[in-house]
Amino acid sequence: MATLTLLGAINHTLEQQMEKDKSVVVFGEDAGFEGGVFRVTAGLQKKFGKDRVFDTPIAEAGIIGAGVGMAINGLRPVAEIQFSGFMFPGYNQIAMHMARMRNRSRGKYSVPMVLRMPYGGGVRALEHHSESLETLFAHIPGLKLVIPSTPYDAKGLLTAAIKDNDPVIYFEPKKIYRAFKQEVPEEEYTVEIGKARVVQEGSDVTVVSWGAMMRDTLKAIESLKDEGISVEVIDLRTIAPMDSETVVESVKKTGRFLVVHEAVKTLGIGAELISRVNEGAFFHLEAQPVRLTSPDITVPLPKGEHHHIVDQKRIAQAIKKLANFE
């Protein structure tokens, strides 16, 4: 048992998996020698050598496309995109190849590859350093997308992702990379991909969130503890394949549904969740389901970010409103 930050848990997991499985390789822009701009891969090159841990040219299609090739030929690449906003030049490789090689070759070739990328806002960064692009992955058949919100899940999901014989996108909520520590078992374990986590049971309202926003959601609920509202909180954890069953079952119980996310509203994950809640629990709904998200605008530069991403206060207000709706 070690007490680790989310970032520490990722680093530890990479090290553990590289030790156990010689086919795991780690690479990306600055991911080798210096261990990444966030130091997520720090120490790995020293330990495992330059063949297995290396810096790449600045070329996202190259990184991802070469990763696809490596995966086809016996490696388990864990590639890093420096910030999720820079995945765009490599999106062709993600959507057209990573996601499709198994289907295209009817299973002859698979792509057991993990594509890690720090995502999300709240760190006062430059343009393109704060995006939440879940939709662009979850909409593409053949891709899995996971997002841990705790060090424990960070390890369990990453271990599962590396062992998965299909490609997994692994979003890292950089805002909480070092926000808190948690006990993380030393031994290998997995958290099942495709399984949401009920963080707290409740009977009045269902609230779904994930990633860094999970923290704000939990704080919001904490701030409401004297209001007598019983909230069921779900950490979606896997965005694709989406565990709508867990969400639907919860809404059947509570009748009220709120989803909170960083991405913009239109076609954000909230849209899909509301549709699935409609499809699975329509006659249980006691109030209109609610999306609490960023507005449909480009992520502002840091001075405007607080007008964009919702905060604890707004979440609390939304929960109260929904719980009190008659």
Binding site: P57, G65, M96, R104, R106, M242
Partner: protein, 362 residues
């Protein structure tokens, strides 16, 4: 050594045979055993006949859109013949001949162009990637496959193909560069067939040769007569030597011509003249190679007639089989996207099967 003799900036074209199949570059004539020479020729003929027939089937509405290979057989067969079974082929979309040589069956090839993914489920041990449509993207796969071969010490080299037009794409740049940076065993062959659909080669880039693009990556580049199967073999041999010695990638520009349409949806008469096509027909790689074999007493008209007939029958039989077996059930649609089908997709499949059952009665 070899590549230093040829400067891509000088527009020298490496060749072994002339238009009439005579050896003009004795020093570089590759030493190939008869069996292999005949296998090369047989495969070129098979590819040609399969192509011609497929065009007919397509006009009859029995075959879907496909990308003919006619005229480019030499660029494909030469390098594949020079390679080992374990070496990889990472094709674009016009490499039917290369694929056949590497062990993709004609049935698979036809099945693919017939519109069924099962045609890309190649046999065990056939190190060939499926047809790759998004231009340039295959080059990155090749770099990665070669990287894996290198660090896992597999001793496999990787061939990838791209068109003249494709060299303008960013993915070509990233892939060749990636391979060069890590000295991986990768060989990129540009089939310069003079056009990207209707767009002439000159419109793709201002560079005088495509081989000179190698300079941007610090690797050797060479322009080769792509209708000369021995030249292509020879150059591939040298590139393989580099690859296997850990010296890194090589870029080969195969100067050739697409005799047919871009795909069966294309009408080349819009953008090129009959004279141009006729001129290139005189450089047909099959004719040149056949003359060489005849000069070597390995071939004659009788053998030719027999082979043509044999291939024709084989091709027709294979296509008919594909027409029978090429149909598609719901399992084919749903079952290959993931190793383990996710719950929500399972539900979608069940719903669809239920719908099919329900509407059967109607």
């Amino acid at each position: 050594m070899f590549f230093e003799k040829y400067d891509p900036l000088k527009e020298e074209m490496f060749a072994v045979l002339d238009k009439d199949g005579k050896v003009i570059n004795k020093d570089e004539e590759p030493d190939i055993d008869d069996e292999t020479l005949l296998k090369m020729y047989r495969t070129m003929v098979l590819a040609r006949v399969a192509d011609v027939k497929a065009l007919q089937f397509q006009r009859q509405g029995r075959m879907l859109t496909f990308a003919p290979v006619q005229g480019q057989e030499a660029c494909q067969i030469g390098p594949m013949a020079a390679s080992d079974t374990k070496d990889w082929l990472v094709p674009a979309f016009r490499e039917a001949a290369a694929m056949l040589y590497k062990g993709v069956t004609l049935e698979q090839s036809y099945l693919y162009w017939y519109g069924n993914e099962r045609g890309s489920q190649f046999d065990e041990g056939v190190n060939v990637l499926p047809v790759n449509v998004p231009i340039g993207s295959q080059v990155n796969h090749a770099a990665g496959i070669a990287y894996a071969s290198k660090i896992l010490e597999k001793g496999e080299s990787v061939f990838t193909y791209i068109g003249d037009g494709g060299t303008s794409h960013g993915e070509f740049h990233e892939g060749v560069n990636f391979g060069a940076v890590y000295d991986v065993p990768m060989i990129t062959i540009i089939q310069n067939n003079q056009y990207a659909i209707s767009t002439p080669r000159a419109q793709a880039t201002k560079a005088k040769t495509l081989a000179q693009k190698a300079i941007a990556y610090g690797i050797p580049g060479i322009q080769v007569d792509g209708n000369d199967v021995l030249a292509m073999y020879r150059v591939a041999q040298e590139a393989l030597k580099r690859a296997r010695n850990g010296e890194g990638p090589t870029l080969i520009e195969a100067f050739t011509y697409r005799l047919g349409p871009h795909t069966t949806s294309d009408d080349p008469s819009i953008y090129r003249s009959d004279e141009e096509v006729e001129e290139w027909k005189t450089k047909d790689p099959l004719i040149r190679f056949r003359k060489y074999l005849s000069n070597k007493k390995l071939w004659n008209q009788e053998k030719e007639d027999k082979l043509q007939e044999e291939m024709k029958q084989y091709v027709i039989k294979t296509f008919k089989k594909v027409e029978k077996t090429g149909q598609y059930g719901p399992d084919d649609v749903f079952d290959f996207n993931y190793e383990t089908m996710p719950k929500d997709l399972k539900k979608q499949k069940e719903d669809y099967l239920a719908y099919l059952k329900e509407s059967e009665g109607e």
